[in-house]
Amino acid sequence: MRSIVNLAARLLLILATTVAVSSALGQTVTIAVKAEPNTLDPHKVVGRQSEAFLANIFDGLTARDAAGTLVPGLAESWEQVGDTTWRFHLRHGVAFQNGEAFDSESVRFTLERAGDPDSPATTWSQINTITGVDVVDAYTVDIHTVSPDVLLPARLAELFGPMLPPVYTVEAGDDFGTHPVGTGPFVLKEWVKNERLVLAANEDYWRGAPSVKEIVVRPIAEDATRVAALIAGEVDLIEGLPHVMVDMIDSRPELRVERVSASRVFYISIDASVKPLDDVRVRQALNYAIDRQAIIDRLFGGLGRPAATIISAQAFGFDPSVEPYPYDPEKAKALLAEAGYPNGFSIEFDYFSGSVADHYALSQAVAGYWTQIGIDVKENAYELGVFQEKRGANKAAPLYVYSLGDVFLEPFWLVEWLAAGDMSRRYSNPEVNALIQEIRSTFDASRRAELYSEVQRLMKEDAQHAFLFQVDTLWGASDRVNFTLRADEVPWFYPLSLAD
């Protein structure tokens, strides 16, 4: 009898706490993300997931609006004052979350810390055109680049240009990553690794205080688990809703799907230096063999668009007249026969699972299409980490899947990335290289657009990749919250608000 009373008392207690918790949830928004950042030190972050998260705590000199356009951030305006010098005019009256004032000195300190030759920032390669910073006055800085760099203002946006408070950063040392201070809309309140990260509104934010006062961010790696948490009402918002679950969310009146076209282009890298892929006809056959639209329709719920090159539809310089390879298996077979492989050939194809974006299912589908034109595809399905090691050692198979998102929406860097030569990045076309060099230092936008058109034509024709498609980024949302996604895939919680 006593044990029953005991049990009842415990149950009551549990019930009472549950009620207390849910009433506290009234003002809090809970968000499930795929993974938490590895650190919140902008110079030690690894991976896009971590980099993108920083925008909630820090600001860059520039920023992006919801449409992806470059807008002022901590700098109110910027201009070129020489071939290799950009001048930024800083916003007045901005303070870091610990009270330190933001000024030219903060910019100089931050960029010098990022470029410290002894321990450069993990993101340094994205801004390493910078050779020096001159403080002109308290709110004006000149930033020098090694060569004319049309991209510098975009480089110093939220991902790679978060500004740090000089005094606190030095004081905090290695603790900065877990106790960050920026100028951003949210302050880190609590971080229990692998469990939750609590953000509190920065009431003095220079854009105005955020509407939601507390955000709990929970890392939930498994897609199905994240969706289950949303359906159960444990979380209000989930990142990375799998495309196949759209109907499931739509069928529930209290939930909805938020979508935005993302710049990430999926592609297969084709090694043009090995037989039989050295023959452009074979590479084109691989391109004609794939039904891109069918993969988008079946695996991504129709939410995407076929791609002709690495240059995404929303990027500067995108030329819609360069159309993606159509699905034409007959032509693919004819090209193979012409190249001397009427019965196909045998080739290795590396793909992987476990990445933030799903590369596994689409790679299987691509392998299936190649099989249909008579190619014997030896599939190697790796775990992401194992594959990255192989790729990093320049040992990826002649065919491998990958994807790239254009954070700058100014795509010459993507082409440079593909042609880097190391880490299984094998793109090689001297003509394209020359064009890219020209684009780098062409400040006239219409001329640059022309050059980009030429790049796209060449990249499509030489077929050293099978560019596949871009797919929409999807989030699942409860009707409790208002939220819109940003086109550059940054999970930007500032505009988040509670529905009334």
């Binding site: 299987q364 190697n380 399905a381």
Partner: protein
């Protein structure tokens, strides 16, 4: 029940348990034979290829549901592959790897067990120390590490299963040999001038065979699970070869939407393991009930 309590409970209980185990063993035998038949006759029993994709026919439900078709009795997965065909051909993968690996592990384990039992001394201690060392590892982790290092392929999966599976044979066979080798008939054989090899082959091995036969199905069942786990974790037989574990892994996202893509391979694993286990248990009770405490 009342009968049991009043009259001769011991006598009444024993035969009853045997009857139950006999039925279980028969059931296990039927399931095992059926599975073998499905694996062998997979090309006859299925109409679709297990690896052919057809995105236009993706995610069809089983034949008995609205939208299903007789061409795909258990439906299709997200790439339009036939689920029934993948299960049938997957039985080949599963049975081949697990049986071959169990036999390989048995060969290795029995050999080492004989050596350890017959030549006690230093060699014996080294072998038994190795057994203890191996058993101290979490075996699935060891198998994972092996396949990850060597690269996923059917041979390497078998190798990993053998390397992590021989210890139980070695241990049991050594115990049997230790007991047998002091028996009068062994002493007699030795006195008549029989060589060690002859004693092992003629006198010890036949007597240890029962134990090995009883162990085999139990070990095969364990190997089916380990193989499925490796496949589930992406380190099994590489695609496009169908395997039950990989089917589960690939389709887990669809579990809540297209139940058939994950439920049927899951059932296949469960039924296979239960069938082989019941067969093994029955064999043990039949051949050597004393082993119940050992196994």
């Amino acid at each position: 029940m009342a009968d049991d309590a009043t009259s001769a409970p011991q006598a009444a209980r024993r035969p009853r348990r045997r009857v139950g185990s006999l039925w279980l063993m028969r059931g296990g035998l039927i399931v095992t034979v059926a599975m073998l038949a499905i694996a062998v006759f997979a090309p006859v029993l299925t109409t679709a290829s297990p690896i052919a994709q057809n995105l236009m026919a993706a995610r069809q439900p089983p034949a008995w549901e609205a939208g299903g078709s007789a061409g795909h009795p258990l439906g299709t997965d997200y790439l339009g592959r036939d689920v029934w065909s993948r299960i049938a051909y997957g039985a080949r993968t599963t049975l081949l790897t697990s049986t071959a690996a169990a036999l390989g592990a048995a060969a290795l384990g029995v050999l080492l067990g004989f050596i350890a039992g017959y030549y006690e001394g230093r060699i014996g201690s080294v072998i038994m120390a190795l057994v203890d060392l191996m058993l101290a590892f979490p075996l699935i982790v060891l198998a994972l590490a092996l396949v990850a290092t060597l690269g996923p392929s059917m041979q390497n999966v078998m190798l990993a299963l053998i390397v992590t599976g021989w210890m139980v044979y070695a241990r049991v066979v050594r115990a049997v040999v230790l007991r047998l080798k002091e028996q009068p008939f062994v002493h007699a054989a030795r006195a008549l001038g029989a060589s060690d090899a002859a004693i092992i082959a003629r006198h010890l091995f036949p007597n240890a065979l029962t134990v090995i036969l009883v162990l085999l199905p139990i070990e095969i069942a364990r190997m089916i699970i380990t193989e499925a786990s490796l496949s589930f974790l992406g380190l099994g037989v590489p695609p496009p070869t169908p395997s039950w574990g990989r089917m589960l892994a690939e389709n887990r996202l669809y579990l809540t939407i297209d139940y058939w893509v994950a439920v049927f391979p899951g059932l296949a694993i469960t039924i296979a393991v239960l069938g082989v286990t019941f067969l093994g248990d029955g064999l043990r009770d039949r051949l050597d009930p004393r082993l119940r405490h050992l196994l």
